[in-house]
C-alpha cells in the first residue's frame, strides 16, 4: 500500500476572479492523476469584489470534506493572504503577486495585461504556475485547459504561468480508476435525469440555482424540458400539471422558495400526484445568509403542509448519494404517488465530489391501469395505491382533485368516505417504511462512541470517525423514520453523539422522539460546514 498522501490548497480572490473555476480546474487536473479530490467553495452574496475562496483537498484515498488548515495558498489578491495566512500549515507555501517569505511572488496580472487578454484569465496563469510548482507536466495541464472556451488564449496563459516558477514539490498519481467529478447539484440533476425526469421547473434561488443552470444548458442532450416561470408557486403547480399527464416533474429551490410551494405540496398529497422537491438549505430564518450553509430546515420539510399525508424525505451527504437518492426520490414518488424530497444544503449542493455512479439506478415506474371496468382515479386498493391512467386515454376519464373525494374523484363531504380516503392515503406510509428503512450508512467498530449525522455533514463526520476509531451512522431517509434500523445501528455504540450544522439539533430531537438515546450534540450554526480538523477537536473531549 502507498503511503498516505494529501495536499490542501486554498485559492482566494475577488468575486469575478474565477476562483471557483480555478479550483475546479485544479481538481480536474488531480482527478485525472487518479487522486481523490474534494472542493469547498466559500463566497459572499455579491457579484464582483468581496472575497471568494475555494479549498481543494486531494489525496490518494477517498476524501469528501475539507480541512481548515491548508498546505498552499494561491492568492489572486492580497486580501486572501490577510484572511487566510493563519490557516497555512507551518511548512506551507503561498503563491501570490505580493511579496512573501513563505513562497513565490508571481506577476500574474502583468502577464495578463501584457498579453492583452481578459483580466479573468489571470486564473489560468495562476493555474499554470501552480501546476509547475507541483511538478505537473504541461501536457497534463493542457488536457484540462484546452477544454475551456478560448482554448488557445488560455493555453498560452497557462504556459506563461507555467514558466514563471520552478518545480518545488511533486505529487503522486494513482492507477486510473473510473471516478467522476460532480458538484452536488450536478449529481442531483443527473440522478433525476437518469431516473426518467421530463420537466424541471424552477425559479432561481441560491443554492439551488445551479441545478436549473446545469439542466437548462443540457436540456436537449438530457431530453428534459427546463422551465423558469414567474415564481415558485407557478413552478410547483406547473410540475403537478405535468405529472398529471404522466410526465415526471421535479422542482428545486431553497427554504424561502419552498415555503411558497407548501400549499401545492398539500395539493399533491390530496390529488395523489407524484412530485419531487429539491430543497437546498441555507442559513435562515428568511433570507438569512444566502450563500452559506445550514441544516436548518429538516423539521420544516418533515411537517410542511396542511393535513396529514405520507411523504419521503431523503438527505444525501455526498454526490454519489445525491445521484442515487434523487433517482430514488423520483422512483418512490411515482410508485407511491406521493411527494418526495431531496434535502440538500449549500455545502452539499455546491461542493465538488470525486466519486463513482451507482451500479443500479432506480427508475420511474408506476402501477398502470389495466383498462377493466370504468376508470377510478382513486380506487380503493389493498395497498392504498390506485392505478394510474392519463388524460388522452380514450377509455379513461381522469379526475384529479384537491377536494376530499370518492373513488372517481368527485367531491365528497360524507363522513365515512372522508375517513376511508384519509386512511387510504396514510396506508402507504408503512409500505414506504419497509422499502426505505435499509437506507442507512453504518461503519466502524462496536463498543465505541458513535457519531450520527445527516446530509452534508457526512463527509467531515465520517472522516473524524475514521481518525478516532468511532462508529459512523448516517440515516439517508428521515421520513418515514428508520427507527428500527437506527436502533440496530446504535445498539453497539457506547455513546451517541449527534453532529449537525444547525442551532437546535433537529436530528437529535428526531432521534429522541423515536426513543433513541442521544448523549451529546455537536452543533455548528455560523453558516459554515464542519471541517474535519475543527470537528475532530470538538469530538475528542466527548469520547
Amino acid at each position: 500500500m502507498q503511503k498516505k498522501f494529501e495536499i490542501n490548497i486554498l485559492f482566494g480572490g475577488q468575486a469575478g476572479d474565477g476562483i471557483r473555476q480555478l479550483g475546479t480546474l485544479w481538481a480536474k487536473l488531480l482527478a485525472k492523476r487518479g487522486l481523490y479530490v474534494f472542493l469547498y467553495d466559500d463566497y459572499p452574496s455579491l457579484i464582483r469584489g468581496g472575497h471568494n475562496f475555494s479549498i481543494v483537498r486531494a489525496a490518494n484515498y477517498p476524501v469528501e470534506t475539507h480541512k481548515d488548515q491548508v498546505d498552499l495558498i494561491v492568492a489572486l489578491d492580497l486580501e486572501t493572504i490577510n484572511r487566510h495566512h493563519h490557516h497555512l500549515s507551518e511548512k506551507g507555501f503561498i503563491l501570490s503577486e505580493g511579496k512573501t517569505s513563505q513562497g513565490f511572488s508571481l506577476p500574474w496580472s502583468k502577464t495578463v495585461k501584457e498579453a492583452g487578454v481578459p483580466r479573468i484569465m489571470k486564473n489560468t496563469v495562476a493555474l499554470g504556475s501552480l501546476a509547475k510548482f507541483c511538478g505537473i507536466s504541461f501536457e497534463e495541464l493542457s488536457q484540462v485547459v484546452k477544454k475551456l472556451p478560448q482554448a488557445e488564449k488560455n493555453l498560452e496563459m497557462a504556459q506563461k504561468g507555467y514558466n514563471l516558477i520552478p518545480q518545488t514539490i511533486s505529487l503522486p498519481s494513482l492507477p486510473e480508476e473510473k471516478r467522476f467529478l460532480f458538484y452536488g447539484n450536478e449529481a442531483i440533476a443527473l440522478g433525476a435525469v437518469a431516473a426518467g425526469l421530463k420537466f424541471y421547473i424552477a425559479y432561481p434561488m441560491t443554492p439551488a440555482s445551479s441545478i436549473l443552470h446545469y439542466l437548462a444548458a443540457r436540456r436537449e442532450t438530457f431530453g428534459v424540458n427546463v422551465i423558469h416561470p414567474e415564481n415558485e408557486i407557478a413552478a410547483v403547480l406547473a410540475a403537478l400539471g405535468s405529472a398529471y399527464t404522466g410526465s415526471p416533474a421535479m422542482v428545486g429551490t431553497s427554504g424561502g422558495g419552498f415555503a411558497l410551494m407548501v400549499e401545492a405540496l398539500s395539493l399533491s398529497a390530496q390529488a395523489e400526484i407524484p412530485i419531487t422537491f429539491v430543497e437546498c438549505q441555507r442559513p435562515g430564518p428568511s433570507t438569512g445568509v444566502p450563500t452559506y450553509t445550514m441544516q436548518g430546515d429538516l423539521e420544516f420539510v418533515l411537517h410542511a403542509g396542511h393535513g396529514e399525508f405520507p411523504r419521503v424525505v431523503l438527505a444525501p451527504g455526498d454526490a454519489f448519494q445525491a445521484f442515487y437518492l434523487t433517482a430514488l426520490a423520483l422512483s418512490l414518488a411515482w410508485r407511491y404517488q406521493i411527494p418526495t424530497f431531496i434535502l440538500s444544503d449549500k455545502h452539499l449542493s455546491e461542493s465538488l465530489f470525486c466519486q463513482n455512479l451507482p451500479e443500479k439506478i432506480p427508475q420511474i415506474s408506476y402501477k398502470k391501469w389495466h383498462k377493466k371496468d370504468e376508470y377510478q382515479r382513486y380506487s380503493f386498493e389493498e395497498d392504498g395505491i390506485s392505478p394510474l391512467a392519463f388524460p388522452g386515454d380514450k377509455r379513461a376519464v381522469v379526475k384529479a382533485t384537491s377536494y376530499e373525494h370518492d373513488p372517481f374523484g368527485i367531491t365528497t363531504e360524507e363522513a365515512e368516505m372522508i375517513a376511508r380516503m384519509q386512511a387510504k392515503r396514510l396506508k402507504k406510509e408503512n409500505l414506504l417504511l419497509q422499502e426505505t428503512e435499509k437506507l442507512l450508512e453504518t461503519k466502524g467498530p462496536e463498543r465505541v462512541p458513535a457519531l450520527v449525522c445527516w446530509g452534508s455533514s457526512k463527509g467531515a463526520v465520517q472522516e473524524v470517525c475514521k481518525a478516532l476509531g468511532l462508529r459512523f451512522i448516517q440515516p439517508l431517509v428521515l421520513r418515514p423514520f428508520p427507527k428500527r434500523a437506527l436502533e440496530k445501528a446504535l445498539a453497539p455504540a457506547s455513546k451517541v453523539i449527534v453532529c449537525e450544522t444547525n442551532a437546535t439539533g433537529q436530528l437529535a430531537k428526531l432521534l429522541k422522539y423515536h426513543d433513541l438515546e442521544v448523549d451529546e450534540v455537536i452543533l455548528r450554526y455560523d453558516g459554515r460546514p464542519f471541517t474535519t480538523d475543527s470537528l475532530k477537536k470538538k469530538v475528542e473531549p466527548l469520547i
Binding site: F199, G223, N225, I233, A238, L267
Partner: protein
C-alpha cells in the same frame, strides 16, 4: 358504479349551485362545445382545470378529464398539462377571485407567454363560495361581507389588463347569451395561443346583475377590426366594470397570431440519453 350521470356528459354529482345561478348557463354552453368535440372524437383529449369557488364545481358535473386545483392556480396547472402533452385541449375555469385576485400573476404570464390554453373566467364580480366578499372586479362601494361600508377600490378592467399583457385572444361574453358564449368558447379553443374570455356570470345570491347586463350588453359588430389594438382598447374602455354603464360590449375584442410558448420553449425531441458516455465525457 359509473361516473356518468343522467344526461350526456354529466356525472352523478348533484348540482349544488343556487337556483338562478349564472353558472348554469355557462355549464350548458361548455357542454355544447364539448359535445362538438365528442363528435369530432376529441373528447378524451379535453382536460378541464378549475380553481376553487362556485365556478369550480363545474368540473364535478362534467364526465371529462379534469384537474380540480386550488384557489388562484388554474393557469400554472393548465400550463403544465399543456407543456407536457401539447396534444391535449386544455380549458381553464376560474372565478374572478381566482383569476384576478389570488392568481393574477399567472394570468399576466399566461398572456405574455401565449401558452395555448382556453381560459374562462366565471366573473360574477364577487366571491361566491365564501359568501359574498368584494373581488377585483366588484364596483367601487360594493357592500360585501369584508367591506360592509363599501369597497374602497376601483375595479380592475381585465380586458385592459389582458391587452397590456400581450394576450392574443381577448374576449368577453355573457351567460345570458348562451349561443354567443358557446361560439366564443369554440373560437377560443380554435385559437392557437392563450385565449382569454371574461364571462359575465351573475351571482344570483350575492350580486344579481342579470338586469344590468340584459340592459347594457351589446355584441361587438363583425365590422370591428380584431387585430387592431387601439380599437380593442377603445371597446374595452366603454365599460369600466363599475356600477354604471352605457354599453357593455361582448365578443372578441382582439385576436392576433404569435408563436405559442410551447412552440418557442419546448425541446424538440427527446433523444435517448447515454448516461455513462455522457458522464465519462463531461465529468472527468
Amino acid at each position: 358504479m359509473s361516473l356518468e350521470g343522467k344526461t350526456p356528459l354529466s356525472t352523478y354529482a348533484p348540482n349544488t349551485w343556487c337556483p338562478g345561478c349564472g353558472n348554469f348557463g355557462l355549464l350548458s354552453a361548455v357542454k355544447q362545445v364539448l359535445l362538438h368535440l365528442k363528435e369530432d372524437n376529441k373528447l378524451h383529449q379535453v382536460v378541464l382545470v378549475s380553481g376553487i369557488g362556485c365556478h369550480a364545481k363545474i368540473v364535478d358535473y362534467l364526465a371529462v378529464n379534469s384537474f380540480y386545483s386550488i384557489h388562484g392556480r388554474v393557469l400554472p396547472v393548465a400550463w403544465g398539462i399543456k407543456m407536457a402533452n401539447p396534444s391535449l385541449i386544455v380549458i381553464g375555469h376560474a372565478g374572478d377571485g381566482d383569476a384576478y385576485g389570488e392568481g393574477i400573476s399567472h394570468l399576466i404570464f399566461a398572456a405574455k407567454r401565449n401558452t395555448d390554453l382556453t381560459f374562462l373566467v366565471h366573473n360574477n364580480r364577487v366571491y361566491g363560495l365564501t359568501t359574498g366578499q368584494f373581488t377585483p372586479t366588484s364596483p367601487k362601494k360594493f357592500k360585501g361581507r369584508s367591506t360592509p361600508f363599501g369597497s374602497p377600490e376601483e375595479p380592475l378592467n381585465p380586458i385592459e389588463i389582458m391587452l397590456a399583457s400581450k394576450a392574443t385572444f381577448v374576449a368577453r361574453s355573457y351567460v345570458g347569451r348562451p349561443k354567443h358564449l358557446a361560439y366564443i368558447i369554440k373560437e377560443a379553443i380554435k385559437h392557437p395561443g392563450f385565449a382569454f374570455i371574461d364571462v359575465l356570470q351573475p351571482c344570483y345570491t350575492f350580486f344579481n346583475t342579470y338586469n344590468f347586463y340584459n340592459q347594457y350588453v351589446r355584441e361587438i359588430p363583425p365590422s370591428h377590426p380584431r387585430e387592431n389594438l387601439e380599437a380593442a382598447l377603445e371597446l374595452a374602455r366603454r365599460w369600466d366594470y363599475g356600477e354604471k354603464a352605457q354599453e357593455i360590449p361582448i365578443g372578441i375584442f382582439y385576436q392576433i397570431k404569435r408563436p405559442t410558448f410551447e412552440e418557442e420553449a419546448l425541446i424538440k425531441k427527446h433523444p435517448s440519453f447515454d448516461l455513462k458516455a455522457y458522464v465519462a465525457q463531461n465529468h472527468s
